[in-house]
Amino acid sequence: MTVEKAEMRLKILYFAWVREKTGRAFEEVDVPLGIATVADLVTWLKTRGPEFELAFARSDVIRAAIDQVHAKPTAEIANAREIAFFPPVTGG
């Protein structure tokens, strides 16, 4: 992969059953222009194949973090370096 538009290159991480369903722990992706929010990114990810459609089928329960801080679906992803998707946390 060559980096043509650095501002669109994102590291995406998946945890717990989101990781199991997407079949990967992380990837670097080139996100098309026009993807402004976390919700936009989820919509776009679901178009990338059946494993993503399955992983994000229950997108209402999936949580996100932008650069290691919890983020809402409406959060802007501009300038983000890394975005993570995961189920509600169950530690402690």
Partner: protein, 153 residues
């Protein structure tokens, strides 16, 4: 004030001693230890696997600890969370809160646990005796527990 994520077990006495030895300003030390129960929903479990988000975990735990310090004059606090494969009876998490007075130590320890359960990026997967694994669902009561604190800030 510390936050650690580790695969190794922890020792309660050693962790408390490291925080308090030589200090005479502390009057109350509350610890919470979370352990793996042998049953989940009436089914025996053989293994509990803990996954986390390295980097965010430490950052989130540090933010939670900073919020506790902004609310209570804690003398010392510590969060230790284990990751990896654990068995029933094993320790999962340790929270220590030390203060001059007991109510602050109790409140701070409960607060740290509530926030840890709702914000810290850890996920538990239980494996039953039949080797079937499933991810633990978040409990609604944890969301209610955290709501208590928003009106007391």
């Amino acid at each position: 004030m510390g936050v650690r994520v580790q695969t190794a077990d922890f020792d309660l006495s050693m962790e408390v001693a490291a925080l308090t030895t030589g200090r005479t300003d502390i009057g109350a030390i509350v610890t919470f230890t979370g352990t793996v129960r042998g049953e989940a929903n009436g089914q025996p479990i053989a293994l509990m696997s803990l996954e986390h988000y390295p980097g965010m975990t430490e950052a989130e735990l540090a933010r939670v600890e900073a919020e506790a310090l902004a609310r209570w004059p804690l003398s010392a606090s510590l969060i230790v969370h284990r990751v990896g494969d654990l068995k029933p009876g094993d320790n999962i998490v340790l929270v220590v809160a030390a203060s001059a007075h007991r109510q602050m130590a109790f409140d701070a320890a409960a607060f740290l646990m509530d926030y840890l359960k709702t914000r810290a990026p850890f996920w538990k997967k239980e494996t039953g005796a039949d080797s079937a694994g499933h991810w633990v669902d978040a409990r609604d009561s944890d969301g209610e527990a955290i709501a208590r604190w928003s009106s007391t800030g």
